[in-house]
């Protein structure tokens, strides 16, 4: 099977988040980036498992600047065979989907995997757009996937239960928890990653339909007030007047 896995980078979960340019730009300076966990733990690992079971290749693709190579190398260290980076800032979900579609059209992948969302922007858009651009079926939020010949049986968690769908290759699937188990790269993989091909291709034009106007942080948590446990009157007063829950 010829598989493509879309990976993106996200800030490390403990990174301090701030914005500039009137809150319209995310400040990347000093932020540590990691591979989006849904891409890494579920999409990539399931694709690798399929390759290990039935043969084939796993290619990873990222739309981003050269700084993303570190994240791409991690994917190669975990076991992908090669990588493609579309050399451009990932301006929007549509932009990213368009770039990946452009590459995928020429390559005839049997299946394209991505994470159900990135843990920073939580867009969950690229998969559907990509499938549309390629005119192939799309299954979102897959939590289990089995291949039988060219037919995939994909389970997705839905409210209160599980939905099972069947789809023929080629298809696009976004992956959520349950799809696979996280793999930690071993030293051999890390050393081999450097020698695996990483092709850099230019971006194609893509119209922007929406512009981000601003970002804002959640309101800071107000300070905890410590009260004497004996002072119930004060507690009631605060719950009534300040917290306004009584």
């Amino acid at each position: 099977m010829k598989l493509l896995v879309c990976v993106s980078k996200t800030p490390e979960t403990t990174a301090k988040i701030s914005f500039s340019d009137n809150n319209s730009t995310f400040n990347e300076a000093g932020v540590q980036f990691i591979m989006n966990p849904y891409d890494e733990w579920y999409a990539l690992v399931r694709a690798l498992e399929l390759k290990e079971a039935a043969g084939g290749t796993v290619t990873i693709i990222n739309v981003g600047p050269a700084a993303n190579d570190t994240v791409i190398r991690k994917g190669l260290a975990i076991g992908a065979d090669d990588a493609i980076r579309v050399d451009s800032e990932p301006k929007s979900a549509l932009f990213v989907a368009k770039q990946i579609a452009e590459v995928a059209k020429a390559e005839n992948y049997d299946a394209i995997f991505l994470g159900k969302e990135t843990i920073d922007y939580n867009g969950s858009e690229v998969g559907a757009m990509l499938a549309e651009l390629l005119d192939v079926p799309y299954i979102s939020f897959g939590s289990h996937l089995e291949m039988n010949g060219n037919v995939a049986t994909i389970a997705r968690d839905i409210e209160g239960g599980v939905e099972v769908a069947e789809v023929e290759t080629p298809f696009v699937v976004s992956s959520s928890k349950g799809m696979a188990e996280q793999r930690i790269p071993n030293m051999r993989g890390i050393m081999m990653a450097k020698r695996k091909p990483l092709k850099v291709v230019p971006a194609v034009e893509c119209e922007d339909f929406a512009t981000v106007v601003s970002y804002s942080m959640p309101a800071a948590k107000s300070e905890v007030k410590m009260l004497d446990p004996e002072n119930m009157d004060e507690l009631v007063r605060l719950l009534h007047e300040e917290a306004k829950v009584l």
Binding site: K16, V31, R73, A77, Q182, N186, M187, R188, M226, P229
Partner: protein, 620 residues
């Protein structure tokens, strides 16, 4: 009713156990990367062919992978391995159920064989990178990780001195994490003094030796998480000379291979020791040859066992320093977390009880304790990586560079082993103190770190033995060449730091203390030359402490030079705080620790031979 409920809720809400989370952080990858990339520039080791594949990206990725292993397989079972300790039952040693996976994961990730050649299945990883990774594992859970790295030490010995057959039989299963390696030296009458080993080996016509004897305190000596145990065992061949020159090294497996089947090799376990700490990390009492059927396979030449063992000791000693420092580091992060969450008391200038309490990290005394821990642990880590770097140069370089690195490593090994072990105990104690009563109770891990760290100053040579090794051997070897090289290394940093306004006073202070210890050393050598070895070495442990403090001051200056330079540029907040934390901790070390060397100097320079003159009978 509502009031009762609210009251109960509030009292409950105020209980420490509920409001303060368990420790989450045990190591700082940012600090390790700072040391590897900015202070030591270890990627430049790829100028050597053996390390040519290591670049900064690969090194960072290795560390991140180590952290993931620590997070997933080691740290989660740290306290549980203490609560569900190893035990001996019906001749078998039971260990924590998570241990097998932990060992196997470290093996499969390539860390046990990391330094070995590609042909042997290793990754030709520089020692300095490998030890940085090991530091992460040890900080996550030394009691689990140490099993895997005992096998590494045993494998190294066989790779260095064993026959092709020994290598192919024993090394691959140890690299795979299927068999456990051990170092079996200590006997009931032979601990610090290995001269007195009595385990015996009798040559047979079949080529193997019949082994008889017992070994105590053997770490990883027996357990069910691996299929077999391979002891690297010191014994005397019958008729060999007395003393260390008569000791040989053998591979003594618990199960031996006979016609493709593993059968008993007459190695049994008399029991395991009940210990103060490291309760999940077995120390076994091993009996070999009780039924006259224990086979040992000679490693290298007869009678050279102890010298082989000692060639590997540098690694084991640095590993011990690493373990101690890793535990103290994890304890520091646990204390730091608590200090940033526990409200108690008020600022001395704002004591109004109507004001909310402040977090304890606001109190100067708590900050002092945290600074102490940070100064000890980050200073020690820098030294341990420095030594690992010398080990790399000594291993892959040639000529004078190789020889010098080897001498520096030899000189600094007793310090790299003992300083983190001894000061780590104080560091964890300070961490425990930060938690007050909670530090003493087992809802928090500090009391366990305190118990676990203690042994590092005992095994791999007690601090007393290392003090004598430093002053009695290392300082004087090659007519003091190692010390001269050491002083020249420090001098480089002193000169570099003197051009910085901030660092100059510290550089000057270090220069002054360096001169002082040099003069003291000369004075002590004079005592030795006057044929008074007892007097000369009576306070060797204090000399080690003095030398250690100077060495760590050097490492702080080294870090300070990088931080001071980095702060010249505009930095993101996190980086700014990081480098500031380095400079503040450097200040702490020079203001609070370095002055202690003056008292040590006074004592060491004194001609009062109190400990020699004190008679055993006077202790009553």
């Amino acid at each position: 009713m509502v009031f009762e409920f609210l009251k109960a809720f509030f009292i409950f809400g105020l209980s420490k156990k509920q409001t303060i989370k368990m420790a989450e952080k045990y190591v700082s990858i940012k600090n390790i990367k700072f040391l590897l990339n900015e202070v030591f520039d270890v990627a430049s080791l790829n100028r050597f062919e053996y390390y040519q594949d290591y670049d900064k990206e690969g090194i960072n990725m290795s560390l991140d992978a180590a952290k993931q292993i620590g997070d997933t397989y080691l740290f989660p079972i740290y306290t549980d391995m203490d609560k569900n300790k190893a035990y001996y039952e019906d001749g078998a040693v039971k260990v924590h159920k998570g241990l097998k996976t932990a060992i196997k994961t470290l093996a499969e990730a390539g860390w046990i064989s990391a330094h070995d050649t590609y042909e042997n299945g290793g990754q030709q990883m520089p020692f300095v990178v490998m030890n940085a990774g090991l530091f992460v594992f040890y900080a996550a859970n030394a009691n689990a990780a140490a099993y895997a790295f005992l096998s590494q030490g045993a494998s190294n010995l066989i790779q260095a001195f064993g026959t092709a057959e020994l290598k192919s039989t024993y090394v691959p299963p140890m690299y795979a994490g299927d068999w456990q390696g051990t170092m079996a030296l200590t006997e009931p009458q032979a601990g610090s003094s290995l001269t007195d080993i009595t385990s015996s080996a009798e040559e047979t016509e079949e080529g193997y030796y019949k082994i008889k004897g017992q070994k105590i305190y053997i770490s990883g000596g027996d357990h069910e998480a691996t299929e077999n145990v391979v002891h690297l065992y010191l014994a005397r061949i019958k008729g060999a000379a007395v003393g260390t020159k008569g000791i040989s090294l053998f591979v003594v497996p618990k199960l031996r291979n006979e016609n493709g089947r593993l059968v008993s090799n007459d190695v049994s376990t008399a029991g395991i020791f009940g210990k103060m700490g490291q309760k999940g990390y077995v120390a076994a009492h091993i009996m070999a040859g009780e039924n006259d059927d224990c086979r040992g396979y000679l490693v290298g030449e007869p009678h050279r066992g102890l010298s082989y063992m000692f060639q590997m000791m540098n690694e084991a000693r640095i590993a011990t320093g690493m373990i101690a420092n890793a535990q103290a580091t994890a304890a520091y992060y646990a204390a730091l977390q608590y200090a940033t969450e526990r409200p108690q008391g008020r600022h001395l200038s704002k004591k109004d009880p109507n004001l909310p309490q402040v977090l304890i990290i606001e109190h100067a005394d708590v900050k002092r304790m945290l600074l102490f821990q940070k100064a000890i642990t980050e200073g020690s880590l820098s030294l341990l990586l420095q030594c690992s770097y010398y080990a790399d140069i000594a291993s892959v370089s040639t000529g004078e560079e190789k020889e010098n690195a080897h001498l520096l490593l030899e000189l600094l090994t007793p310090i790299a082993k003992s300083y983190p072990s001894e000061m780590g105990i104080h560091s964890v104690s300070a961490g425990l103190q930060c938690l007050g009563g909670a530090g003493y109770c087992d809802d928090f891990p500090l009391e366990q770190y305190y118990r676990d760290i203690r042994v590092n100053a005992i095994y791999e040579g007690t601090t007393g033995i290392h003090g004598m090794d430093l002053l009695g051997r290392k300082v004087m070897m090659h007519s003091g060449k190692a010390v001269k090289l050491f002083m020249a290394e420090i001098q480089k940093e002193i000169v570099a730091a003197q051009s910085s306004e901030f660092l100059k006073p510290f550089a000057d202070k270090l220069a002054e203390r360096l001169k002082a210890i040099h003069e003291l050393t000369m004075q002590l050598i004079q005592v030795a030359m006057n044929n008074k070895p007892e007097v000369f070495l009576a306070d060797a442990t204090l000399y080690l402490e003095y030398f250690g403090t100077i060495t760590i001051a050097w490492q702080w200056l080294k870090q300070g030079i990088v931080a001071d330079k980095a702060l010249q540029a505009e930095l993101p907040e996190d980086d700014y705080n990081f480098y500031q934390s380095k400079l503040h901790t450097l200040r702490y070390f020079f203001e609070y620790e370095v002055p202690k060397t003056k008292a040590l100097h006074e004592r060491l320079a004194s001609s009062d031979n109190l400990t020699i003159e004190m008679k055993a009978e006077y202790f009553m």
